[in-house]
């Protein structure tokens, strides 16, 4: 089973929930594979404390134009969906930070004047955590704008053993990187907070999950603040609320020190354990 923890709004507690779930699962049964796909700001390692022992660069293949063969016909610029290549009188400009590495320019060049050279945009890192969790994360290089290829590479790099549960910690938002992180999941756990902002982004996240045909459920964090808009929305949308985490100073202080939720609070360890048991049972059914 593949569970993606997503949210829409940032800072709702995705990583709190994802790492908490992974830890209780590792305690109760075979340890899961954990993928931190928030490659612009991965932070699950603060809670899971893996010993990162393997590394691999993530490359995009960027076009390089041989001006001796180029006839400046402009076909490459025409087929580029991302405007990453421009042809100007006797000059061709490539913008690596806009290139998605799709290869269209190379494929369509009538003079075969384009070759592709790897451009490093990020790194993948993996290792075991003390709890036995297979941990891997992607890290986008500073200044690089495209997170999706790093997430895609991470998902390919570390795959689950037969029967192994995968927990994916998604980036915030509902744009391409989130679509990439959610793609292929059996269940989306949408962590939200009971505020108008939380609700606004939860709606988007639910819409995205439905679009990708992924069953979704909600987890309400900072329960007790805000208003009842999220609760009402969940009822009306048929979105089960699987867990509520109160707005609590002790929890916040513990998380700020890098302590995972099940370690801070036995009550939440029990709740997460029950949730994990329920999810695994439903996956088997």
């Amino acid at each position: 089973m593949r569970i993606v923890v997503a949210s829409g709004k940032g800072g709702t507690g995705k990583t709190t929930v994802a790492t908490g779930l992974a830890l209780v699962m590792a305690q109760a049964g075979p340890p899961p594979l954990f993928l931190d796909c928030d490659v612009e700001a991965p932070n699950a390692h603060f809670f899971l404390k893996p010993a990162l022992s393997r590394r691999e660069d993530v490359n995009l293949l960027i076009p390089q134009v041989d001006l001796a063969r180029c006839t400046f016909c402009g076909r490459c610029a025409e087929v580029c969906q991302y405007h990453a290549i421009a042809v100007l009188n006797r000059n061709v400009m490539v913008f690596p930070e806009l290139c998605h590495g799709c290869g269209s320019c190379t494929l369509n060049c009538p003079e075969r004047a384009i070759t592709e050279t790897p451009h490093v945009i990020g790194v993948l890192e993996a290792g075991q955590t003390p709890a036995g969790i297979d941990f891997a994360r992607g890290l986008l290089n500073i200044g690089e704008p495209m997170a999706s290829p790093v997430i895609r590479a991470l998902k390919k790099w570390r795959t689950a053993a037969p029967g192994q549960t995968v927990i994916v910690d998604a980036p915030p938002g509902t744009s391409c990187p989130v679509v990439e992180a959610m793609h292929g999941a059996d269940l989306a756990l949408l962590v939200t907070e009971p505020t108008p902002f939380g609700l606004h982004d939860l709606r988007l996240a639910v819409e995205l999950a439905r679009h990708l045909s992924i069953p979704a459920a909600a987890i309400i964090n900072r329960d007790g603040i805000g208003d009842d808009g999220v609760e009402r929305f969940c009822r009306e949308a048929g979105l089960p609320v699987l867990m509520r985490i109160p707005f609590d100073r002790e929890l916040a202080a513990g998380l700020a020190r890098g302590r995972p939720l099940p370690e801070i609070s036995p009550a939440h360890r029990a709740q997460l354990g029950a949730l994990a048991g329920r999810l695994l049972e439903e996956a088997r059914a």
Partner: protein, 116 residues
């Protein structure tokens, strides 16, 4: 001389548009005859690389100079490579902008507006 001005309408009396890559319309003006060609900017709708696409378009259409409010790094580099001179807008209508250009009252742009 053929120059381009970023505009919000399709005549010389239209207001100039302060943005380059995502301006609504390019007005190509022959500074000798004041003849105008108005072209919608297709780059405005693209999700990324609008500045590059617009720069390529302006260069392909034979403009020797472009007048707009600001030019980002990608637009600036592309226009520079194409040999299109860049100038900063001054004037309430495109006609005024062109007159200012002809009188040498516009500032030449020599660096992108937003560095990295």
């Amino acid at each position: 001389m053929r120059i381009a001005v970023t505009a919000s309408g399709s005549t010389l009396d239209a207001a100039p548009s302060p943005v380059f890559g995502r301006c609504p319309i390019f007005l190509f003006v022959d500074t000798d005859t004041m003849q105008v060609e108005a072209v919608n900017n297709n780059a405005g709708a693209s999700s990324g690389g609008a500045g590059i696409q617009a720069a390529q378009f302006v260069a392909d259409r034979g403009a020797q100079a472009i007048v707009s409010g600001s030019f980002g790094p990608n637009a600036y580099n592309t226009l520079s490579a194409a040999g299109v001179e860049m100038y900063t807008l001054a004037g309430r209508t495109v006609r005024e902008v062109v007159e200012n250009f002809k009188a040498g009252r516009l500032n030449r742009v020599t660096a992108p507006s937003r560095g990295r």
